[in-house]
């Protein structure tokens, strides 16, 4: 039985047969891969430039674990997560900040991980979808997405879930949205219109929107 990497979702755990030897080799390879600029493996981020890529060191606390990486300075946070740390829960959709599939939380705030460089976040905490559950206990937003069928193909789901968690925190802080009628109002009432506006940075091409709204309402403790 392969040891489960707690940072990788169960369905994305490597499925190869593991012996003591491969464990050792894998460990070494993981170190090497982490140390080398691997951005070249990430589609469409790098061209065959004559200039040597500049290496940069970065320390990130990802889902509670400290990672020291040496990266090509061009590496986006999304590529660092997916290509260097095998945290493939955060998805690359458009790679231009238009779809929200890459949404992660930095110091608790949601951002598009495709539009930021990993080196810009040295010393900061990143939470990805892999870091939400406590063991087998799903995060309430994850559980609500399952219960309300807040997805079809699932590609946008990790972004939707991270975004929803960030959005609920913003609402708790009383941050307004474009559809908030009274800007002076301190407490946010998360109506369907508020949720839809606040989640407009996450596109779902299967159009699971009604169920996503229902899941967020449940997770946010909002009466339906």
């Amino acid at each position: 039985m392969a040891e489960q990497d707690p940072h990788i979702a169960p369905d994305e755990q490597p499925t190869f047969e593991v012996t003591r030897r491969t464990v050792i080799e894998t460990g070494t390879t993981a170190l090497l891969l982490t140390a080398l600029p691997r951005a070249a493996f990430a589609a469409s981020t790098v061209d065959d430039d004559a200039t040597l890529p500049a290496a940069a060191s970065v320390e990130l606390r990802i889902n509670g674990h400290l990672h020291s990486l040496t990266l090509d300075s061009r590496t986006t946070l999304l590529d660092a997560l997916r290509e260097h740390l095998a945290l493939t829960g955060s998805k690359k959709g458009c790679d231009h900040g238009q779809c929200g599939a890459c949404t992660v939380l930095i110091e608790g705030r949601r951002i598009n991980s495709c539009l930021t460089l990993a080196v810009m976040h040295d010393g900061q905490s990143v939470t990805t979808v892999e870091g939400l559950a406590l063991g087998d206990d799903l995060h309430p937003v994850q559980a609500a997405f399952v219960e309300h069928d807040g997805f079809q193909c699932g590609y946008c789901t990790s972004g939707q879930i991270c975004s929803a968690i960030g959005m609920l925190a913003e609402s708790q802080l009383g941050m307004p949205s474009y559809v908030t009628e009274d800007l002076a109002q301190v407490a946010v009432e998360l109506t369907d219109a508020e949720i839809r506006e606040r989640m407009s940075g996450n596109i779902c091409r299967c159009a699971a929107y009604p169920n996503i709204v229902a899941a967020i309402k449940q997770a946010g403790g909002i009466p339906t």
Partner: protein, 326 residues
């Protein structure tokens, strides 16, 4: 993306000094710059990261205004209680722009300096005088639905995409900069962005190695503040037409009005003539039509964007009607 060196600035002056030469760029939120770098529209050889500078405060000024550090994130600026209560037009404009994820990252200075979303500027296989001076403007006879009807030239008809800057234009904001030698300059926002003329590649009055450190809002003028944005989707889309309006009126009589427009021009567009028409006039259809005539006096469509002329007229009419009601 082309390779670049990356360094973190220790002070604003240090950052400014580091970007004097060609090929060097400041990175703050990075949401626009990295997007353009991936497409090789922007190809800096050096990035200077200013995110660690303590330019992220919103402070009251002695004169009753607000001083906004250049690194204040769009979401934090929109949510600030002082902005919400006294500069509602700015809060609304910010919340009308981009998505929550982008607003959490995008900064005040970066929002002002973001580049146009003209399709041809983004497409490196097409001529674009802004991206590649002298190559021509593919938008003139191309798909120009989103392009400018005011302030454009035969060399470039791109619009400035910001909502925030439109509200700041109505509020007469002042932009503070510093250079590598520590020299501070105050630029009225109307003088920050340039019209394209023959040199659309020069978009602002900033000198090489001069960086924005803050934006100051004077005390709010009297009147109601509204930001109305008309776009193709209800959320997360750029403006076809937007209006930032501050109107002081009572019993159907307009005392003063300020009007700034987005989506229409290469810079946030203010119309002093329309404001003159409104000042002291009765709030009625004749007045609103005269104001729209003044705004659109020099308007010119390029085919795909002809609709923006009547759309601006109707949007202004609707906004003024709403603001002077009762």
């Amino acid at each position: 993306m082309k390779a670049f060196t990356y360094q973190r600035a220790e002070t604003a002056e240090h950052a400014a000094a580091a970007v004097v030469g060609p090929g060097a760029k400041i990175i703050a939120g990075g949401t626009n710059l990295l997007d353009l770098m991936k497409l090789q529209v922007e190809t800096p050889s050096k990035l200077v990261d200013i995110n660690r500078l303590s330019l992220d405060k919103i402070e009251d000024t002695a004169g009753g205004g607000l001083r906004i550090g250049t690194l204040v994130r769009n979401s934090d600026l929109a949510a600030d209680q002082r902005v919400r209560r006294r500069y509602g037009v700015l809060s609304r404009a910010l919340l009308a722009g981009a998505s929550a994820q982008l607003r959490n990252k995008a900064t005040t200075g970066g929002n002002l300096l973001q580049r146009t979303r003209c399709y041809y500027f983004y497409d490196v296989t097409k001529p674009c005088n802004k991206r590649s001076p002298g190559s021509g403007c593919a938008a003139l006879a191309g798909f120009n639905r989103i392009h400018a009807i005011l302030g454009a030239s035969e060399h470039c008809i791109a619009t400035h995409p910001s909502d925030m800057a439109v509200a700041m234009r109505a509020l007469d904001a002042k932009v503070e900069t510093v250079d590598g030698e520590g020299l501070i300059r105050i630029i009225p926002i109307e003088e920050l962005h340039r019209l394209p003329g023959k040199t659309p590649e020069i978009e602002t009055s900033l000198k090489p190695g001069e960086i924005i450190t803050s934006v100051t809002l004077p005390p709010p003028p009297p009147g109601v503040q509204v930001y109305r944005k008309v776009r193709d989707r209800a959320s997360y889309a750029f403006a076809l037409v937007s209006v930032a309006a501050i109107v002081d009126s009572m019993h159907g009589k307009i005392r003063s009005a300020r009007l700034a427009f987005g989506g229409l021009a290469p810079k946030p567009w203010r119309s002093p003539r329309a404001e003159q028409v409104l000042a002291g006039a009765s709030a009625n259809t004749t007045t609103f039509n005269a104001a729209a005539d003044a705004v659109l006096e020099s308007a010119r469509g390029f085919g795909g964007n002809d609709f923006k002329i009547p759309l601006t007229r109707r949007t202004l009419h609707s906004v003024l009607t709403e603001m002077t009601r009762a």
